[in-house]
Amino acid sequence: MTLTPVTPAPVAASPAAALRAPRLRLRPSAVVGFIMIGLVVALSALRPILPGFDPMGQDLSRALLPPFTDPAHPLGTDPLGRDLFSRVALASSVTLGITLAIVALNALVGTTVGIVSGYFGGKVEAGLSVLSNTVLAMPVVLLLIAICAVVSPSAGLTILVVGCTWWVGYARVTRNITAALRRQDFVVAPLTQGADTFWTITRHVVPNVWPHTLIIAATDIATIVLIEASLEYLGLGVQPPTPSWGAMIFDGQKYLSTDPWLVILPGLVMFLAVAGAQFVSQQFTAEARGALLRKGGRR
C-alpha cells in the first residue's frame, strides 16, 4: 500500500498488468466501449468499400430526404442533396483522425509539463505555470484568427494550434500527482542506482500518472470534437465539402426544427465514440476495478 492518495492502489489491474496478454481481462463496460468505438471505426472503414455512396455528389432536387425513404440514400440527404450515410462515414474518419491527433498532442504536452513541474518544482514550475496561465487566458479564437491571417487554414494547422493550447488541464492534474509521487521512495530509488531523472520519470512517474491523463483525454474527446467544429465555423480546419462531425452538427442545427436527423445522425456517431472512449478509459483506472468503499472489508 502506498501513501499517495492518488496512486491507484497496487491491487489488481495496473494498466501494465491489464495490457499484458494472458492477464487481459476486460470489464463489461470496456467491452461495451470497445464495441461502440468499433462501430464507428467500422463505419469509417466501410465507406470506401461500399460503392455507390458519394459523400460529395450534390443533387439539390433530392435535398433533405429523410432517412429510410430512398434506397440510394439509406440515411437520407443533407440540404445539398448529398448522401448522409457516406458523409457521416467520411466525417468519422476525418474527425477521428483530427481529434485523436489533437488529444494525443494535448495529453503529451500537458502531461509533460505537469510531470516536469511536479517533479522539479521551484523555478521550473513557476515558469511553466506562467506559461500555462498565459495559454489559458489566451482565447483560442484570437489565436486562430491571427494565425490564419498569416498562414492558410488546414487540418494540420488546427491540430497544431489546438493541440498546443488545450493541454493545461492535463498539466494541472498530473502536476499534483507527480508532486505527491515524488515523496515516494520508489521514485527516488532508481536515482540511487545511477539512473537519471528521465529514467525514473518515465518508468515510475509516468505509469502512475497516465491513468489520470487517460480520464481527462476520454472526457476531452467530446470537447475537442466541438472545438474543431467551432473552428470549422471560423473557416479553419478541414475545408468543405469535406465533412467532420462537428461541422455537420453545427450546420445541421439550422435545420433542427424541421430536419433533426441532420444533427442526430452525426450526434449519434459522436456519442458512440465519446461514450466508447469513456468506457474504455475506465478499464485502466481505479474506478474500473469497481473499487468501491469496501463494506468493512468482508466479501
Partner: protein, 305 residues
C-alpha cells in the same frame, strides 16, 4: 507568508505581461480594423485615414510601447466601435459573467460530488452505470444544441422559464443547467476515480478498524484526500467560466464577457480585446493561485519546500 505572496505576485505579473504582449502581437497580425468600422461604400483612402487616426500607421514597436504605457495607468483606450472606455465596457460585463460562472461552477461541482458520494456510499454499480451513461450522452451533445433543447422544452413547450436575456433569477436557470451538466462529467469521473483509489488505501482500513462508519470515512477522510487532483481541474474550469462562455452567452443572449471578447476579436476592436485579456488573465491567475493554496493546504505533500 509574505515572501510566498511576493513570489506569487511576481508570477502573476509575469503571466499578465505575457498575456497582454502575446495578445497584442496576435491582434496586430489580424489586421487593422478600419475597413470593418466604415460602411461598405467608404473608400480605401477613408479606411486608411481611419486606421492612421487610430494609430495603426506607426511602427509596431511604438504602438506596443504606447499600449504598455496606457496599461500602466489603466487606460486601454476607447472601443473603436462604441467610443467608450474599453475597460468600462469589459467591467460592465463582469457581474453577469461572474454570476453565471459562479452558479454553473457550484451546481456542476455539487452535482458531481453528490453523485460520486452516492456511488461510493451505496456501492451501487447500477447507479454508477446510470450516471456514467447519462454523462456520456450529455458529453456528446454540444452545449449549443443542449441549450436549444432546454429552451425548446422549458421555454417553448412548458413556458416556465425565459429563453433569453438576464432579467430575473429565472433567467439563470437554463444557462446554468447547460454549463453545469457540461462540466459535471469531468468532475464526476475525476472524483469517482480519486475516491476509488482512496478506498484501497490502508488508512481507510485503519479507520474501519476503529469502528468508523462508511459515510464518516468517506466524508471526513477519503473526500479531502481525493479532492486535490479534482481541484486543479476545477480551478481551471472556473477560470475558464470567468473568462466567459461564448456559446451559452450567444444562445441565451446573456451579456457576458465571452461574447464581448469574441466579438471584439472578430471585429478587431483591440482596446476591448486587450482590456478583456487582462481581466481574463487576472481571473485565471487569481483562481489558480487560490486553488494552489487550497490544494497545498489540503495536501501538504504536493507543496515543494
Amino acid at each position: 507568508m509574505l515572501p510566498f505572496l511576493l513570489r506569487r505576485l511576481g508570477l502573476a505579473v509575469a503571466t499578465i505581461f505575457l498575456v497582454v504582449t502575446v495578445g497584442f502581437i496576435l491582434g496586430r497580425l489580424t489586421g487593422a480594423p478600419g475597413a470593418l468600422l466604415l460602411p461598405d461604400n467608404a473608400s480605401a483612402a477613408d479606411v486608411d485615414a481611419l486606421n492612421a487616426g487610430l494609430g495603426f500607421d506607426r511602427p509596431v514597436i511604438v504602438q506596443y510601447l504606447d499600449y504598455l504605457g496606457g496599461l500602466f495607468v489603466g487606460d486601454f483606450g476607447d472601443s473603436y466601435r462604441r467610443h467608450e472606455s474599453a475597460l468600462g465596457l469589459v467591467l460592465e460585463r463582469v457581474p453577469a459573467t461572474v454570476e453565471l460562472a459562479f452558479w454553473a461552477f457550484v451546481a456542476g461541482f455539487a452535482l458531481a460530488l453528490i453523485a460520486a458520494l452516492a456511488i461510493q456510499l451505496t456501492g451501487s454499480r447500477l447507479l454508477r452505470a446510470v450516471v456514467g451513461w447519462g454523462g456520456a450522452v450529455r458529453q456528446s451533445v454540444p452545449d449549443f444544441f443542449f441549450a436549444l433543447l432546454l429552451v425548446l422544452v422549458f421555454s417553448v413547450l412548458l413556458g416556465v422559464l425565459p429563453s433569453l436575456g438576464r432579467t430575473s433569477p429565472a433567467s439563470l436557470v437554463l444557462p446554468v443547467i447547460t454549463l453545469a451538466t457540461g462540466q459535471f462529467v469531468m468532475y464526476l469521473r475525476l472524483l469517482d476515480a480519486a475516491l476509488s483509489e482512496q478506498a484501497e488505501q490502508d488508512y481507510v482500513r485503519t479507520a474501519f478498524a476503529q469502528g468508523h462508519s462508511r459515510a464518516a470515512i468517506l466524508l471526513t477522510q477519503m473526500l479531502p484526500n481525493a479532492l486535490s487532483p479534482v481541484l486543479g481541474m476545477a480551478g481551471l474550469n472556473l477560470g475558464g467560466l470567468l473568462g466567459g462562455t461564448v456559446v451559452v452567452e450567444v444562445v441565451f443572449a446573456w451579456p457576458g464577457l465571452g461574447s464581448l471578447l469574441t466579438d471584439a476579436v472578430s471585429q478587431r476592436d483591440f482596446p476591448i480585446v486587450q482590456a478583456g485579456l487582462l481581466f481574463v488573465a487576472l481571473m485565471f491567475v487569481l483562481v489558480n493561485t487560490l486553488v494552489d493554496i487550497l490544494v497545498s493546504r489540503i495536501d501538504t505533500r504536493t507543496a515543494h519546500s
